[in-house]
């Protein structure tokens, strides 16, 4: 009975999300130039990142036992894992403005989960360009590393990408939610967002303090490094890798709770 109710709720939310998304895409198609330009923009950003990476490897064929293609693997993997936060959770970037101006109250009158309702409003198409670029990089690395392609390994890849994506989403949820308590939360968001660039490196290249921080405090090592070990170092997979889906879910849940707690005690502005 209870499970039935849960699945019904899930279906209800999925249905509403699909509707909003479909409408949103339809209206965005009217602005094709906007779609193209924003995607060209994000691809250009990634290409320049890629070139810097590539130049570095022209000088050092490997970094601490990490070959060029392995690094490419991490790079592509991280880009894909960072796609959901870009595609589906971009409205977090507007949160502080809406909270500050009082516009956030518009979202508070619906008989539906507030976090879901707020986040569902924006779908950022730029993420598609990033996904394409990441997928291309990953496939390129995959081929050159001679990794096999079996249904099991694809399943593992999907689970790994899914759980990896939860970490950046959770980090950004918490960073955005700080605006419910402090006014300068823009700094926090930008600060946290920039950490994602470190996600593409194996954490072994950092010193032990940063290794600790990137694993337990701002867990960006879970965005690419830990999950990739399943594919790149299959004989030597640490426990944290196996735990990462669970940690990801818990971390996401905590971030959701922080966000919703802030939103529920939001008292609006005087006008």
């Amino acid at each position: 009975m209870k499970i039935k109710k849960k699945t019904n709720t899930l279906r209800y939310y999925a249905h509403i999300y699909r509707m909003i998304l479909a409408q949103d895409l339809k209206s965005k198609m009217n602005y094709r130039a906007d779609f193209i330009i924003s995607n060209v923009g994000i691809i250009a950003t990634n290409v320049s990142g890629f070139i810097a990476f590539w130049i570095m490897f022209q000088n050092f064929p490997s970094i601490l036992n990490w070959t060029y293609y392995e690094m490419m693997f991490l790079y592509g993997f991280s880009l894909i894992a960072l796609t959901p936060v870009q595609l589906f959770f971009d409205n977090n970037w507007n949160l502080r403005f809406q909270v500050y101006s009082g516009d956030f109250i518009r979202y508070c009158f619906r008989p539906i989960n507030l976090f879901f309702y707020y986040i569902s409003e924006v779908f950022d198409i730029k993420g598609i360009g990033q996904f394409a670029f990441g997928a291309g990089t990953l496939i390129y690395a995959w081929k050159n590393l001679g990794l096999s392609v079996t249904p099991l390994i694809i399943l593992k890849l999907i689970i790994a990408l899914f759980s990896a994506s939860l970490f950046m989403i959770a980090i950004m949820n918490i960073a955005a939610a700080t605006c419910f308590w402090i006014t300068n939360s823009g700094i926090v968001m930008v600060f946290m967002f920039n950490f994602k660039d470190y996600a593409r490196y194996p954490i072994t290249i950092f010193n032990s303090i940063f290794r600790f921080i990137f694993t337990f405090i701002i867990p960006i090592a879970f965005i690419a490094y830990y999950p990739s070990l399943i594919f790149l170092r299959p004989d030597n997979v640490p426990l944290l890798t196996y735990l990462s889906p669970f940690i990801g879910i818990i971390f996401f849940y905590i971030s959701y709770k922080v966000w919703i707690t802030g939103a529920m005690q939001y008292s609006g502005t005087g006008s």
Partner: protein
């Protein structure tokens, strides 16, 4: 008839704790831990019952606490003390359940999807509120009969004028047949035609669906057109709660005597009229010291004299003025809601 009130507010107070914020990032971090608050009493000990189907005008000067009260009734704000029941539920504790049975319009803050055509917003709302096909279609048909907005439906909200958008926001608020609709300054910034259109719409929706409507406004035209009952608050306390008729009875002895002394526009400059008004006011106060409530002001080409006939008869004043000035035209008007409310805001009623 013995009906239960649909909204019960009992001894409700709301205070805001406002942080005295400090500068910079370090300041923000300190703010996180500091307890340096200032307390604002937005609402103090308010009690009222609203019956199903009523349209209540909730009035008060700027900063009186109207929006704060509405936010508490919608469940967004939690009262500091006291009890609120809406449809028998505590709004703050059942925010989503409460939301299913209410509609809210905050003037100028649209709740429709900015980029989408209105009809698409309506379709999404239909799913969110789980509105029956029949109810939904009936409502769209009703809307079409009332305001004929079909051609607006395909326009993205972003491209609408403020008035069109407000109209659509009101329609959206009634779409799921809520038992109560809260309208916070729905006519703010609208032209006269749109105002009257919206007033008619609200009247009709209330009549057809028996929806309870709580309306805040600074436009007494809205009050005259819509409300039988008004509740007035000032600085967070209730100062009036009764029918609008009763209020006018209270001022029943008040009249406005309008006099014109010249039809020549050159004599009727604002400066000149203000001078005349001031002179008349002084001489009337000297002549009739017991008539404390006399007030004189210029109003376009007229001089308005506000008189309480319990204190002094209108004819006496006319005769007195006629002795010194040549009156070319006279009008006598009942007191308007506008001036009654103004009088109350200014502390005319205890």
């Amino acid at each position: 008839m013995n009906m239960e009130p649909i909204i019960q507010i009992k001894n409700v107070s709301k205070e805001f704790k406002v942080l005295n914020r400090r500068e910079g990032l370090m300041g923000s971090i300190k703010d996180l831990f500091s307890r340096n608050y200032k307390i604002i009493n937005a609402i103090s000990n308010i009690t009222m019952d609203i019956m199903p189907g009523e349209i209540v005008g909730y009035l008060g000067p700027n900063g009186a606490g109207k929006s704060t009260t509405i936010k508490m009734m919608t469940g967004v704000l939690k009262p500091t003390s006291g009890e609120i029941l809406v449809n028998g539920r505590v709004p703050y504790e059942n925010r989503t359940k409460n939301a299913q049975n209410i509609g809210v319009v905050f003037g100028q803050r649209t709740q429709l999807w900015w980029a989408l055509p209105v009809i698409e917003s309506f379709k999404i709302l239909k799913e969110i509120y789980r509105i029956d096909d029949k109810v939904y279609n009936d409502n769209l048909e009703l809307y079409n009969n009332l305001v004929g907005v079909k051609e607006l439906y395909s326009k993205p909200v972003r491209q609408m004028s403020l008035g069109q958008r407000t109209l659509c926001d009101i329609l959206a608020a009634f779409l799921h047949n809520p038992s109560v609709v809260f309208l916070d300054e729905p006519t703010i910034g609208l032209d006269v035609t749109m105002k009257s259109k919206i007033r008619e719409l609200i009247t009709e929706l209330n009549r057809v669906k028996n929806t309870t409507v709580i309306l805040t406004t600074h436009d007494m035209g809205d009050v005259d057109a819509l409300c039988k009952r008004i509740i007035i608050i000032d600085k967070g306390t209730r100062i009036y709660d009764n029918s609008i008729e009763n209020l006018k009875d209270y001022f029943g002895a008040y009249r406005t005597l309008k006099l014109m002394f010249s039809k020549n526009p050159e004599d009727n400059t604002e400066e000149n009229l203000n001078k005349i008004a001031a002179e008349i006011q002084t001489s009337l106060h000297k002549e009739f010291p017991s008539a404390e409530n006399i007030a004189v002001c210029s109003n376009e080409e007229w001089i308005d004299i506000f008189i309480n006939e319990d204190e002094i008869k209108m004819m006496e004043i006319m005769n007195f003025i006629q002795n010194t000035r040549n009156i070319v035209d006279v009008k006598i008007t009942e007191i308007s809601t506008e001036s009654v409310i103004k009088k109350i805001y200014e502390g005319g009623v205890k």
